[in-house]
Every structure is written in structure tokens, then in C-alpha cells.
Amino acid sequence: SQQGEEDPQALSIQEGENATMNCSYKTSINNLQWYRQNSGRGLVHLILIRSNEREKHSGRLRVTLDTSKKSSSLLITASRAADTASYFCAVLHAGGTSYGKLTFGQGTILTVHP
């Protein structure tokens, strides 16, 4: 079954507002990653947070990780129309192989209205 479960499935906001997406998973992880996918394109890596980290920032992105609740949040501040995309969380299982296999969630579709 899918490890990363995302919430909400779709989010519609106005430009300038903040967007928050949540991801939950079931088993222990090595790290959790967030990817963006623009329509008709491949996924692009945004940010990675390790299991021993609680918060990470990259530009307008802020990711938090709560391993006790097995959940993560991605916050996009001051959103822009160009942020319109699908966002996926992906987990790397703890104690797994060294192949770097990721398990992806079903994604959150973010629409930012100008």
C-alpha cells in the first residue's frame, strides 16, 4: 500500500496566500521528500528532510516532520500563480536497501489564482 498519503487532494487559493499540504506515512522512514509536477511534465525534487530533522527551509518552502505522528507538512508562503502544480511526498523507508527506493503519495493538486 502507499506509504505517503496526502491531504488535501486539491487546494485552491489566491496569489499571495500560503498553501499547506500534509503527508502521512505508516512505517519508519530514512527521509521524506517533496516533489512538484507541472502538468504534462516529470517530477522535480523540491526538498528532502531526514528522519532526525524537524524542520527545513528552502526559499518560500518550509517542511516539517513529526516522526511521532508519522506526518509531514509542506508550506509554500506567498504563493504565486507559477506554483500551480501537483505536489507529492515520497518516503524512503528505514532499514531498506541502499537502492534509494521511494514510495510516493497520490499528490495534492494546488491551484493558485492570480
Partner: protein, 113 residues
Amino acid sequence: DAGITQSPRYKITETGRQVTLMCHQTWSHSYMFWYRQDLGHGLRLIYYSAAADITDKGEVPDGYVVSRSKTENFPLTLESATRSQTSVYFCASNPRDRAYEQYFGPGTRLTVT
């Protein structure tokens, strides 16, 4: 051009035909992956490879075959295509030393009629 490319970008084929999707990366990344993306299922791993001549099954390998004779190429073959294999296929790679961040190709949209 540098990066990861997939070909063809679009393919329509008939049930029962053999189809090969190509993936080529210019970074000499060790690890390569094939995913399929379907509505309601997100991305699911089909096969992966840690190096040339080393491949292993992912979550949904049935009906697919892979090979990796060269580090830069990782073709995916549907031996006898079925309608359930209609999907968007993504190839990805990652270098051994980048903490498993993956780089994705642009995808191949496959329709099996």
C-alpha cells in the same frame, strides 16, 4: 543535451504488441528507476537498477521486463501490452551520493487499444 530523456514521448499500440520505452541519462548516475503514474494511484515503482546488469522488481513488475547493459540506458519493455498498462511512464535516476534525491525524465504517455 545533458539530463534524462525518454522516448517516445507518446505511443499508441495495440493489445498484445511488444513495446519498448527508452530512457537515457547523461550524468552516469548509478541508480535508475521506472515508475507508472495513474489517476488514483500516484507513482508506483515498476523496476529499478543499482548499476549496469543489476536490476530488481518494484511494486508492480508483472508484464514488464527491463535490462541495463550500459549505465546510461534503462529500457522498459512491455512484452505483450494490455489495456491495463495504459499509463504515463516515468524514468528517474539518482547518484549514489545525493541522499536519494531523484531526477525524473519528461515521461512517456502510452495508450494500449
